[in-house]
């Protein structure tokens, strides 16, 4: 039997953050992971993370995973057990683990369960054909194994996962037949939708899949339109060509093993399914048993890491009786509160209030500034939205200037810290929207590459008498060559003109987000938002 201070189950973002924060404070940790490597789903996330700069924002998920892995390896008091599966939780506080073909017993003082989530399944005809994959499967194949999941994917679900994985598929060279969303609004962040739209990806809101078509594998799909009561509109069926249907219809907390402990749980659809009751420090109804990350309720990876840190710190604080630790817990709880304070945290706050029997605060602390209904339905900002962030004619004519096409309140602040001239007004809270101080901005374009939403552009209206330049972020292959002619696309991915590449910034500091400046005829300066390299 192995005794230890803290057993952490699951080495995804929450589990790693928990282990580090506990070990930092002198706690002996066993970190259990059923896979052969740490990182959980974080190792597949090639996009830049949102949240606050203090907590990994602006950094690609894959790099955050590498940093956390290195940190774990640096602690002698973290014993990492890979390929080790938790098999049982027993009343006497013993945990049985299958490792190297043997059952071992662990008796920890405290435990943090960070087992993550699993994908929801969807009911439609032939929903078991080869080629129907969960979003995680598609990401594993393309980002871990370097294998093309398909040639043309139909993405079901327009939440963040559906939108992000669609973008990643395009980066891997896969075509997206469309993103299908049953509701009449796009579910994920608007900046993710905008990225897809300017690549020409169709987003079908108020649509659902009726049938997968194919004999031995997916060859197509039958879709139909829904009315406002979620019922099929007869006669609206149409077929769409694809060789893979990706289900991104939600996650559920992976609580199976947690249930063995007998902890109190509640079914909360806002949080993805059954979640354990837990206090503000993430301790469940079983004393000494904590949860962190998606297993406590489906959220983003950023929230998972903060929860992991809170749980790890609380374990340390309780075992070490150190006041400094409790101070840090207060800071992290404030961070978590801030992550959830805006409109995108609505659902989670609603779910949590049912868990704690608190009065549900319907109003967002940071209500939307802009009317984004049009954006939500189409994936492109409205004319009013765009007008609101444009500098006046005088400034536009003076020289290059940054324009932030960021209209939705999301917890995110890297842009503020990215400007070497402090030309983006500092935030008091990460849910604020960026405001460019046009007089200070010289249009250098550094912010273009730092925005996790890839939503900042630099416009130089008077580059020449007849042409303007637009500086935009570009994360695809092949990279355009300087002086080459490319197709220029608008926010819906439609070709509006041709343009010449004036400059490409692609150094180490850009971390694979090329900052491309393209020259276009002057009348297109406010529509040109993407390029297509023509070979």
């Amino acid at each position: 039997m192995i005794k230890t201070d803290l057993l952490v189950v699951g080495a995804g973002p929450a589990g790693m953050a928990a282990s580090i924060s506990a070990a930092k404070n002198g706690i002996n940790v066993i970190l259990l992971e059923e896979n052969e490597r740490v990182g959980g789903q974080l190792i597949k996330q090639t996009h830049r993370f949102f949240g606050s700069q203090k907590e990994h924002a602006g950094i690609r998920g894959i790099h955050i995973a590498e940093d956390l892995k290195k940190e774990i390896e640096s602690y002698k008091n973290i014993e990492l057990m890979l390929s080790a599966t938790l098999m049982g939780i027993y009343e006497d506080g013993i945990f049985t683990v299958l490792k190297d073909d043997k059952m071992i017993k662990i008796k920890p003082e405290k435990t943090i369960m960070a087992t993550g989530a699993f994908e929801k399944y969807l009911l439609f005809e032939n929903n078991d054909l080869p080629g129907i994959y969960g979003a995680g499967a598609v990401q594993t194949l393309m980002n871990i194994n370097g294998v093309l999941p398909a040639k043309k994917v139909l993405m079901i679900g327009s939440g963040n996962i559906g939108l992000i994985v669609s973008y990643q598929l395009m980066q891997a060279g896969v075509e997206i037949a469309g993103v299908i969303e049953a509701s009449n609004k796009i579910g994920g962040y608007m900046v993710h939708a905008a990225k897809l739209k300017r690549l020409g990806v169709p987003i079908y809101t108020s649509h659902t899949i009726e049938k997968a078509i194919g004999n031995e594998r997916v060859e197509g799909a039958l879709l139909h339109k829904l009315d406002s009561n979620w019922n099929k509109i007869e006669g609206s069926e149409f077929e769409i060509d694809c060789d893979c249907i990706c289900l991104a219809v939600g996650l559920s907390p992976l609580t199976d093993i947690l249930f063995q402990s007998g902890c109190a749980v509640k079914y909360l659809p806002e949080l993805g399914g059954y979640v354990p009751y837990r206090d503000e420090h993430l301790e469940t109804s079983i004393k000494g048993l904590y949860v962190a990350g998606d297993v406590s309720g489906i959220e983003e990876a950023t929230g998972a890491m903060v929860e992991g840190e809170i749980a790890g710190l609380h374990v340390a604080g309780t075992l070490k009786q150190d006041d400094k630790i409790f101070e840090r817990i207060k800071e992290m709880k404030e961070e978590l509160r801030s992550l959830r304070a805006g409109p995108v945290g609505h659902k989670i706050r609603e779910g949590l209030s049912k868990l704690y029997d608190e009065i549900y605060v319907e109003e967002d602390e940071f209500p939307e500034v802009y009317d984004i209904e049009f954006f939500r339905k189409t994936g492109t900002p409205s004319e009013e939205n765009l007008k609101a962030v444009m500098p006046d004619e005088e400034r536009l004519n003076k020289g290059p200037v940054a324009v932030t096409e960021c209209f939705q309140r999301i917890p995110c602040d890297p842009c503020v810290y990215s400007c070497p001239y402090n030309a983006i007004k500092p935030f008091e809270d990460m849910n604020e929207l960026p405001e460019v101080i046009f007089e200070k901005c010289i249009g250098c374009g550094i912010c273009v590459g730092k925005c996790p939403g890839l939503a900042i552009f630099v416009l130089n209206k008077n580059y020449s008498e007849t042409t303007s330049t637009v500086t935009l972020p570009y994360e695809f292959l092949p990279k355009p060559a300087k002086e080459s002619i490319v197709d220029v696309l608008d926010r819906s991915g439609a070709k509006i003109c041709e343009g010449k590449i004036i400059r490409i910034l692609d150094g180490k500091a850009q971390d694979k987000t090329s900052i491309v400046t393209v020259e276009v005829p002057k009348e297109f300066y406010n529509q040109a938002r993407n390029i297509k390299v023509v070979l």
Partner: protein, 93 residues
């Protein structure tokens, strides 16, 4: 609308939505009963894939809310394990 006999609800036990709805009509209205009569939720994935969908069907049929349904029991060991792995060493440390 959709042909229920072509909609798979439990991949492990190869069970369709039509067959599940027939079970519901026969009077098997709880997760534990359906588990015992058709093995749904007892396959290799232990109900991860089908569980939430079966509950939704039960809730719809019995006109209850999902949160008011009885949950399935959860017992060790979690996941598949071979006898050799349990018996393994003869002396307990």
């Amino acid at each position: 609308m959709m042909k229920e006999e072509n909609i798979v609800i439990c991949r492990c036990e190869d069970f369709t939505l039509k067959e599940l709805r027939e079970l519901l009509e026969q009077g098997f209205n709880t997760v534990e009963e359906i588990k015992r009569v058709a093995r749904l939720g007892m396959g290799p994935c232990q109900g991860k894939t089908c569980g939430p969908l079966i509950k939704r069907e039960i809730a719809k049929y019995t006109k209850q809310k999902i949160e008011d349904l009885d949950r399935e029991a959860s017992r060790p060991p979690y996941g598949g394990i071979m006898f050799g792995q349990v018996v393994g060493d003869d002396i307990e440390k």
